[in-house]
C-alpha cells in the first residue's frame, strides 16, 4: 500500500508477564474502513492504547503519516493533535455540560490555554457544530445536558466529538454496544460516511454489525493477527472458527 497512514509493526507489550500484544503488525490506509474483531483478551483495547499513547510498548514501531513520524515518544495530547481521535468503549462524554459545549471543546481549534481563555464564539465554529450535530442526528439536542441523553445518543455524541476533531484516523471501540437495531443501523451509516474521507478503525464484538460495515476485517487472537481479509474470507478460516466462532460468538 502506498497510501499507508498508520503502520504498526512488530509491537509487543506485556503486563506482569502476560503478553497482551505479541509482535503485532497492522497497516491502515487512508481512506479506509477496517474492522478489528477477536475474542475477549485478544488485545483489541491494548492495541488502541498503544496507538493513542496511553500504553508504551516494550518493542516494535508505530509509524504515522507521510513523514513517517514515530508515535511512541509522543504524549496523548500530541498524538490527538497529530490527527488520531479515539472513542472509548463506554461512552465518555462530559455529562455535566451541554451537547454544544461537548462539541465545541472537541472542535479543531488551537488547544493552548491562552488561546482557549481568549476564545470567542464565531459564526464559523457555530456552523461547524450545527453540521456535526446534523450528521449525528442530535440537532435538536444541542442545548441539552449530555448526561440526560440516552445511551445511544451519548455514543453518537462521542462519535460527533471525534468528527469535530477532524482526525485523519478514527479509532472506535465497540460503537454498537448496548444499542437497539435502528440505532446500530444509524451508527453504521455514520461510520461508513466518515470512512469515505479518512481512516476509520472499528473494534467490535458483534458479527452482524461488522457484516453491515462491509469492510476488510482483521482478526486478533492472543495479541497478534490471526487472519485478515473480507468477513467471508476470515470466517471460513478454520483457525478463526476454532478460536473465535467455535465458542458460540457467531
Amino acid at each position: 500500500m502506498n497510501n499507508t497512514l498508520l503502520e504498526v509493526s512488530g509491537v509487543s507489550v506485556s503486563f506482569d508477564g502476560f503478553k497482551a500484544i505479541n509482535s503485532l503488525s497492522i497497516q491502515i490506509a487512508e481512506p479506509e474502513l477496517r474492522a478489528i474483531i477477536g475474542p475477549n483478551g485478544a488485545g483489541k483495547t491494548t492495541f488502541m492504547d498503544i496507538i493513542t499513547g496511553k500504553t508504551k510498548p516494550d518493542e516494535g514501531v508505530v509509524i504515522w503519516g507521510e513523514r513517517n513520524i514515530s508515535l511512541l515518544g509522543m504524549s496523548e495530547a500530541d498524538i490527538a493533535n497529530a490527527g488520531i481521535g479515539r472513542k472509548f468503549q463506554k461512552p465518555t462524554v462530559f455529562e455535566a455540560q451541554t451537547v454544544r459545549q461537548n462539541l465545541a471543546m472537541a472542535l479543531k481549534n488551537p488547544r493552548g490555554p491562552l488561546a482557549v481563555l481568549l476564545h470567542r464564539k464565531t459564526p464559523g465554529n457555530a456552523a461547524r457544530i450545527e453540521a456535526i450535530a446534523e450528521e449525528i442526528g442530535l440537532s435538536d439536542s444541542l442545548p441539552r445536558i449530555a448526561g440526560e441523553l440516552s445511551h445511544g445518543q451519548k455514543q453518537w455524541l462521542e462519535i460527533g466529538m471525534l468528527l469535530a476533531q477532524e482526525p485523519r484516523l478514527l479509532l472506535v471501540d465497540e460503537p454498537a454496544a448496548g444499542m437497539t437495531v435502528e440505532e446500530r443501523e444509524k451508527t453504521t451509516d455514520i461510520l461508513k460516511r466518515a470512512a469515505q474521507t479518512r481512516a476509520v478503525v472499528v473494534v467490535e464484538h458483534d458479527m452482524e454489525f461488522v457484516r453491515r460495515l462491509g469492510c476488510k476485517v482483521t482478526v486478533l487472537h492472543e495479541g497478534s493477527v490471526l487472519a485478515e481479509g473480507s468477513l467471508d474470507h476470515v470466517t471460513s478460516n478454520p483457525t478463526v472458527i476454532e478460536v473465535y466462532l467455535g465458542r458460540g460468538h457467531a
Binding site: 496511553k54 504524549s75 465518555t92 455535566a96 455540560q97 471543546m105 488547544r111 476564545h119
Partner: protein, 388 residues
C-alpha cells in the same frame, strides 16, 4: 463581550450588586463615617471575612471547577501576608528609630540606623542583622510585587513537578498538605529570618498614616477587600465561563478524555493552580494588616483543610457558594469561639461552645457531604428553577 458574559452569568451581576449594597451599609454604619452603628473591631472582622471569601472562591476554582483538591492554598495566603508584613514592619520601625535618633547632636550614620532597625525587629530572636529575605523590605512597590510573585512562583514550581508526574487525587492533596506544613515548620525556626514563632506584628499600624485613626484605616482596608473580592469574582467568573470553563470542568470530570481530545491537561492545571495561588496571596496581603499579626501557625495544615470545608459547605462548583460558605462558617466560628454563643447546661455536663464548636463544624461537614452535596449554594437551584 462583557454584555454577553454578564447576560450569560446573571449571578455575577447579582453578586456585585449585593456586595456593593453590603459595602455601602457597612461604610455608612462605621465609626469612621460618624454613625458608629458598627464598631471598628466589627469592621475589621467583616473586612477579614471578605478576604477569606476571596481565597474561598480561589479554592472553589481550583477544587470545585478543576477538581484539584489542594489542601495547601493557605500557604499562599500566608506568604502574601508575610510579604506585605515585612514592609509594614520595616517601614514603621524605621519611622520610630529615625524619630528617636533625631534628637541627638551628632547625626547617625546609615549603618547605625540600619543596625537600630534590625535590633528592633530581630532582637526578639536574638539577632540584629537583616536576613537576605528582607532585601526589598524597604521598598513598598517591590514588596507588593512579592505578594503576587512568590506565591505564583511557588505554585508554578510545585504544580509543574506534581502535574507533570501526573500526581492526582488524594496523593496530590497529601503533597499540598506537606508543602504548607514544611513552610510552616520552616517559618517556626528562629533563623528563618521571619522572626520564628513571634511572626510579624503591629501590622495594623500603616506607615505614613500615623495620624489616621484605626477606624479610618479599618474602613479603608474593608473597602479595599470588598473591591478585591469583586474583581476576583469577575476574573474567576470570566475564567470558568466559556471554553476555558468547559475544558477545566472536563478535566475535573474526565482528565483522560480531555487529553485524548488534544488538550495538554498539565498546562491547564498549572494555569489554574498558579492563578488561584496568586489571588490567594493578594487575599492574604489584605487580610493580615487587618488582623494585625501573622505567625507560622497561620500556615498550619488545618487552615487549608478549613478552607476546603467552607467551600464544601457553601457549595463547590459555584462561586457564590464559596463566598456563602466562607462568610457563614468563619463568622459563625468567631461567634462560637469568641464566647458569643451561650453555654448549654445539661445538668450533668455543660457544653462550652469554645470547645464544642469544632465538633459541630465536623458534624455539619459530614451532614453536608452526605445529604446536601451541593451545599448551601445548592438551595438557590430550588429558587431559580429553570422551566423545563
Amino acid at each position: 463581550m462583557h454584555k454577553t458574559f454578564i447576560s450569560q452569568n446573571p449571578s455575577v451581576l447579582w453578586f456585585i450588586a449585593l456586595l456593593g449594597l453590603f459595602t455601602l451599609a457597612v461604610t455608612v454604619g462605621s465609626e469612621a463615617f460618624g454613625t458608629g452603628l458598627i464598631s471598628t473591631s466589627m469592621v475589621k472582622t467583616l473586612g477579614k471575612t471578605l478576604c477569606l471569601c476571596l481565597i474561598a472562591i480561589a479554592m472553589d476554582v481550583v477544587w470545585g471547577y478543576c477538581g484539584i483538591l489542594s489542601l495547601g492554598h493557605f500557604a499562599f495566603f500566608g506568604i502574601g501576608g508575610y510579604a506585605i508584613g515585612m514592609w509594614l514592619m520595616y517601614a514603621r520601625t524605621e519611622g520610630i528609630v529615625l524619630s528617636s535618633l533625631s534628637g541627638q547632636a551628632i547625626p547617625s550614620t546609615a549603618q547605625e540606623i540600619s543596625d537600630a532597625i534590625g535590633n528592633q525587629i530581630f532582637g526578639v530572636v536574638g539577632s540584629s542583622d537583616f536576613p537576605w529575605l528582607w532585601a526589598f523590605a524597604d521598598n513598598l512597590f517591590l514588596q507588593l510585587l512579592m505578594v503576587v510573585v512568590v506565591p505564583g512562583l511557588l505554585a508554578l514550581v510545585f504544580g509543574w513537578l506534581a502535574f507533570r508526574s501526573r500526581v492526582t487525587g488524594v496523593y496530590l492533596s497529601i503533597l499540598t498538605q506537606a508543602m504548607t506544613l514544611a513552610l510552616s515548620l520552616w517559618l517556626f525556626q528562629n533563623d528563618s529570618g521571619l522572626r520564628g514563632n513571634n511572626g510579624l506584628s503591629g501590622l495594623q499600624n500603616i506607615p505614613g498614616f500615623e495620624g489616621s485613626s484605626q477606624a479610618a484605616i479599618s474602613l479603608a482596608f474593608f473597602l479595599g477587600s470588598a473591591l478585591a473580592l469583586a474583581l476576583g469574582y469577575l476574573l474567576f467568573a470570566w475564567v470558568v465561563s466559556g471554553k476555558m470553563g468547559s475544558v477545566v470542568q472536563g478535566i475535573r470530570d474526565n482528565e483522560a478524555r480531555v487529553r485524548f481530545l488534544g488538550y495538554r491537561v498539565e498546562g491547564y492545571k498549572l494555569f489554574i493552580f498558579t492563578l488561584t495561588a496568586v489571588v490567594s496571596g493578594i487575599a492574604g496581603a489584605l487580610y493580615y494588616p487587618q488582623a494585625g499579626i501573622i505567625n507560622p501557625a497561620e500556615l498550619a495544615p488545618i487552615a487549608s483543610i478549613y478552607l476546603a470545608v467552607w467551600v464544601a459547605i457553601g457549595g463547590r462548583g459555584r462561586l457564590y457558594g464559596a463566598v456563602i460558605g466562607a462568610a457563614f462558617v468563619s463568622l459563625l466560628s468567631s461567634w462560637f469561639t469568641g464566647g458569643g454563643a451561650p453555654a448549654i447546661d445539661l445538668g450533668f455536663y455543660t457544653i462550652l461552645w469554645t470547645d464544642w464548636w469544632l465538633v459541630l463544624l465536623g458534624v455539619s461537614f459530614v451532614c453536608v457531604t452526605l445529604f446536601f452535596p451541593k451545599g448551601i449554594g445548592g438551595l438557590f437551584d430550588y429558587l431559580v428553577r429553570k422551566p423545563s
